[in-house]
Subunit: 334 residues, 2 copies
């Protein structure tokens, strides 16, 4: 089976890990190729810190699938040390609010070295993915684009300077330093209009047997992948059923601060509203029992197949079961 | 007193640290400015590793004078960790024979970031020196030049490929990976003919009260500083007495592998021969008792004032005494 998933960071990574666990139990038909999973990762929250290029979502995907992630926080490396960051602080190198671990720094050093030598991000990502043995897992990790795209967030003036005008900050500054607590007036994807899908992205959507949307942030993760020119058209055009997993349970994000992002684009924080963002291509939608259209007033689009199942990715096995349900729903739509 | 020293790494750093200790005991004349020491550091063994610019001699000077050096090895940071290097190895990022510690990486990350933003090395070095409070110690650290210069070493073919021709390797590869055990056929300073002295270098030599040559490597450290166009002329032209400390005791380098470098340029490993490299400007020469011209057959140039004193920099106080002797010798030549 050829499965393609669009993904952000933690939610996407955990979902794909569960998907891989489930696929271990799905027999490959005689003569067929082994299961393959292509993950198209969001790169719009990439950022240059201390002169090094950091790709938080791609790294979270690699670390999680490769077994190196800090399980508790969902990102960064397990058994991490922080000597470099401590010394950067001594040197006064900003920003100090974005802490990178020592092992993590090695990733960014290698990535930056390769980018500076002219390799596109997709080649760099393939090289890094080898360290995590993703090819052996049947996983291909693609950045959504090789072109630089950065999400900027327009926020109002700080409380102590009410006369200042609105200003744009990098997504990471809003997300990590401000904890998305300052309302976003606008979310901008700088550079996206000129971005091209990375090699393999459109083909992976077009040629898949199933396309999945993990419960990633619908605005700053999946929304950015879809905003790369050509990707949305490919989603509309693929013959594969597109099935998504709602990142919203009841009126709240499962984790993260998707509600702050949805509010910024004027969309309600609800499972039906998020499905509405994907209305032009989405065929199946997994929601939590709280959002079951048979027992709640939640209203979904007429043609959408909605299935209610427990959606908490509490461990890998629970996540594998969610992935199984998503594939089963996709199969029913074929 | 204004003192200018040309310096390489470990030997130069330890000597200057002893000099500072000694200067604490030298009263400043009423109305005079505090003692100032300008160190002109060798940058020809700088190297780009993992895409980061490493300046081994400047770093050894900063770490030693600032109290952060690993005392036992003479370079690198005390209480260092090696997480980044371990992960770089996992990523297959070469070279693995040049190990950098985590704190050390922070220095190189900040340096590279500033260089990439267009700051010249002298400005970068001044910024890094502030972290080590060198200005408060009365020390100004200058790179010999802001221009890239790299020492390359021409070596013969490896034993298992005797038919290969000679090849050039970076100085660090010869020094660190090959332990200077492969004979150097030639030592090249790539880029030096077009290098300009960094701002302040010529003035520091011209306006000093005393110019000192610590017991640094006469070929790849002091020799490179002198090879920057204009520096040697400034050494000849300064009215300050120039006094050096021999890096050779008997027929051997005090430490390091200076003999391998001297052999490469066809110069004997002896205190008189090294003095001969500086013959056009050197006025005073501190040698070990083993090289005392009054008791040994060692032959020095006619006009050179040679003084024999114990030269082992076994601790800071012993080194301070050597520095005191050097200044006393300089005073006698005024």
């Amino acid at each position: 089976m050829r499965i393609t998933a669009l993904a952000g960071g933690i939610g996407g990574a955990r979902f794909v890990r569960g998907l891989l666990r489930h696929l271990e139990t799905v027999p490959v038909a005689p003569g067929a190729e082994p299961h393959r999973v292509t993950v198209i990762g969001n790169t719009a929250d990439d950022v240059t810190m201390h002169g090094l290029r950091v790709c938080p979502d791609l790294d979270t995907l690699m670390y999680t699938l490769g077994g190196g992630v800090h399980e508790g926080q969902g990102w960064g490396r397990v058994d991490e040390t922080f000597s470099v960051a401590a010394e950067l602080k001594e040197l006064g190198s900003e920003p100090s609010w974005f802490t990178l671990g020592d092992k993590d720094f090695a990733t960014h050093i290698v990535r930056t070295r390769m980018l500076n030598h002219g390799y596109p991000l997709s080649r760099v990502t393939a090289a890094l993915a080898e360290r995590w043995k993703l090819p052996e897992l049947g996983v291909e990790l693609l950045p959504m684009t090789d072109d630089p795209v950065e999400t900027h967030v327009v926020v109002g003036p700080p409380d102590d300077h009410p006369d200042d005008g609105p200003r744009a900050v990098h997504f990471q500054e809003w997300w990590v330093r401000m904890h998305a607590a300052v309302p976003a007036r606008k979310i901008l994807a700088v550079g996206i209009d000129k971005a091209e899908p990375a090699p393999g992205v459109l083909a992976a959507i077009r040629d898949a047997d199933v396309v999945l949307l993990p419960p990633s942030n619908p605005v700053v993760s999946i929304g950015m992948v879809l905003a790369v020119p050509g990707v949305r058209e490919a989603m509309r055009g693929t013959r594969a059923p597109v099935v998504g997993v709602s990142p919203i349970i009841g009126g709240s994000p499962v984790r993260g601060m998707a509600d702050a992002c949805l509010t910024a684009i004027g969309v309600e924080t609800s499972a039906p509203a998020v499905a509405g963002l994907y209305a032009d291509f989405l065929r199946g939608w997994l929601v939590a029992p709280e959002d079951d259209p048979r027992t709640t007033p939640a209203r979904y689009a007429a043609g959408l197949s909605v299935r209610a199942v427990p959606l908490l990715m509490s461990d890998v096995d629970a996540t594998a079961e969610i992935a199984r349900q998503a594939l089963e729903l996709a199969e029913s739509l074929r």
